[in-house]
């Protein structure tokens, strides 16, 4: 048996890796909800498309890692904007249900389109060479560290954009009040598109990181991961960026810790019970605030 400290350190690294990937996806859900009060159910599938784009970049174009990441993020961002323009914009003043159904439809469309091209699971060739170091009994995988640090970097960049740039101010303003902000000269449609682009771009990055860590991809991989990231965003406080990140790391952490402590059979049961309890205690999520509806 390895020493308890080392064992737990290894599990913490596992939790951080998993949490980072969930966080990148959860951010997309939170941002879109914050600005449009709409759950983009197709987001998990944008993540899946990101992973397949990474696969294409690695096998057909044979690009190195950094270029693959940039290409995947840009292409995913483009896809996000396309979806927004074609599927969600026409329904902005329609009942909420219509937008939700459309989002589900877009998701199904993406899944089946990918399935038509790739009915078999595919293996993504390693984009980075993995080095495993052993420090005092703990095995550090370089890929794990890269995923964690890259994700954290992207989250910090996003935080900067949202808090310090005019685009970010506009995004926050629109999420606060959609009626009067356009009257101030803010190009609402453009800002909404940018929000979708950023969210989808992060999902694309998540797809690339995911392919690094779990190199077997298939068209349905976005479903479960998407749902978990969505739940993470809600638990953290949907609509808030910090909430999405916190929720995602809580989810990743609980998943790993449950498997570390209990038989792995109980993982999903315990994780979802805990999340349900959290929602009951704080219905708006950890960092969420109740929305006041002024008549």
């Amino acid at each position: 048996m390895t020493q308890p400290g080392i064992y737990w350190l290894q599990q913490i690294l596992n939790a951080l890796q998993l949490g980072s990937i969930y966080a990148l996806i959860a951010l997309g859900y939170s941002m879109v909800y914050g600005i449009l009060t709409m759950i983009n159910f197709a987001h998990g599938d944008v993540f899946m498309v990101g992973a397949f784009l990474c696969f294409l970049a690695a096998t057909v174009l044979k690009l190195p890692f950094v270029l693959t990441l940039l290409l995947t993020m840009s292409a995913a961002a483009g896809l996000g904007v396309l979806i927004e323009r074609l599927a969600y914009k026409p329904l902005r003043h329609a009942p909420r249900v219509s937008a939700i159904i459309t989002a589900l439809g877009v998701g199904l469309f993406l899944e089946n389109l990918t399935l038509a091209f790739y009915p078999y699971p595919q293996h993504v060739p390693p984009l980075l060479h993995n080095v495993t170091w052993r420090l005092g009994g703990v095995a550090f995988s370089s890929l794990q560290l890269i995923v964690i640090s890259l994700s954290l970097t992207l989250m910090l960049v996003l935080d900067y954009v949202v808090r310090r740039t005019s685009v970010g101010v506009a995004m926050r303003a629109i999420s606060w009040d959609k009626t009067f902000v356009p009257l101030m000269g803010v190009p609402v449609n453009l800002i909404i598109s940018i929000t979708f682009a950023i969210g989808a771009g992060l999902a694309g990055a998540a797809g690339t990181m995911y392919s690094l860590a779990y190199p077997v991809i298939d068209p349905y991989m976005g479903i479960m991961v998407g749902w978990k990231a969505f739940i993470a965003a809600v638990v953290g406080g949907i609509g808030t960026i910090r909430g999405a990140v916190i929720g995602a790391f809580i989810l990743g952490g609980v998943e790993i810790m449950v498997v570390a402590l209990l038989p792995s059979t109980y993982r999903d049961l315990v994780v979802f019970s805990l999340l349900l309890t959290l929602i009951v205690i704080r219905p708006h999520g950890i960092l969420g605030a109740p929305r006041v509806q002024k008549v």
Partner: protein, 392 residues
Amino acid sequence: MKKQLSVFLNLLVVSAAIALVGCGARAPKEAAIKIGVIVELTGDMPAVGASSRHAAELAVAAVNHAGGVTVAGKRYRIDLVLEDNAAKPDQSAAVANKLITQDEVIAIVGPNASLGAIPAAEIAEANHTLLITPWSTNPKTTMNTASGAPKRYVFRACFTDPFEGRVLAGFITGQLKARRAAVLYDVASEAPKSQAELFRQTFEKLGGSVVAFETYTTGDRDFSAQLTKIQSANPDVIFLPAYYNDVGLIAQQARRQGLNQTLIGSDAWSSPELVKLAQGSVEGAYFANHYAADIATPTAREFIAAYQQKYGKTPDDVAALTYDAMGLLFQALKTAVAPEREAVRNGMAAITGYPGVTGDIRFAPGSGDPVKSAVIMQVKSGQFAWVTNAVP
């Protein structure tokens, strides 16, 4: 008016006569027997479904080319009705129902994975229709779980998990001389679950100890927590009775975490997609299989050549077993007293020695499970190489 009517009536009579005569001359060539085939064409393991489908089509083409099957003195063409169960239990039950009630097939071949074979077998048994699964190794498929007695209408062409567990446990303790094993399996899938549990029983009986017994659920991608637990238990070997799509992820993550133990697999590893997905992480691993292409008997070599010629690749065990399942079914049809479900079932139960691609197949009275030997394979330089045989 009267003349027109009589001309019309004459025309009608003449054409009817021609039609009847024509019908009579065509009848023997049109007579066909429908066999239902359920395979995993989409879903988690499409490579399994593709192999099975190819072998089934090859078998039917061969039989039809030779003039069809003669049942009770009459010649019939064999028609395949192919259905996809997407490697899901609910869909398996649904298509089995459809084949039996709507398509009125005389028998069903498939599904392959136990998670689909078990529900389909239940439907077949309830509808008194013969079902033979090429690849399902979980004992529950041919067993009535309520009474513990064997099912009447369900057969299989392969060996079962208890035997496979004994074979692998024996190989690990005997040839690899290892005493500590860790197990990681999919708790939501029938075959891996039963293989893991039976392996644990047999391994411990042989004096080994299972130092870690971890689970995951179908569709999981991250195994880091379970692998870290396994690592801290310090096993000699790791038993992974998973389907080829999961093996790729698990083995790669294990190697990345610094786990260098020998991996041991079940017959679910046998797909050619395995090395494509797992790459170098399964190099040197051992697994149990139903047949080895590189030590083929003359019967097997014929089949392998025909398959390679038609499809351009070496058939895997799913293909070989499906070919044998079809062959068994044709044999059952030949000895059946009538082209009816009950008669075909009796024909199958009466098979005392069928020389299949995967070896000699015979059913003991009252049992749908054949007694067969297994082979142990190793992944060497990305190819499957035969290591040893294991007779029951």
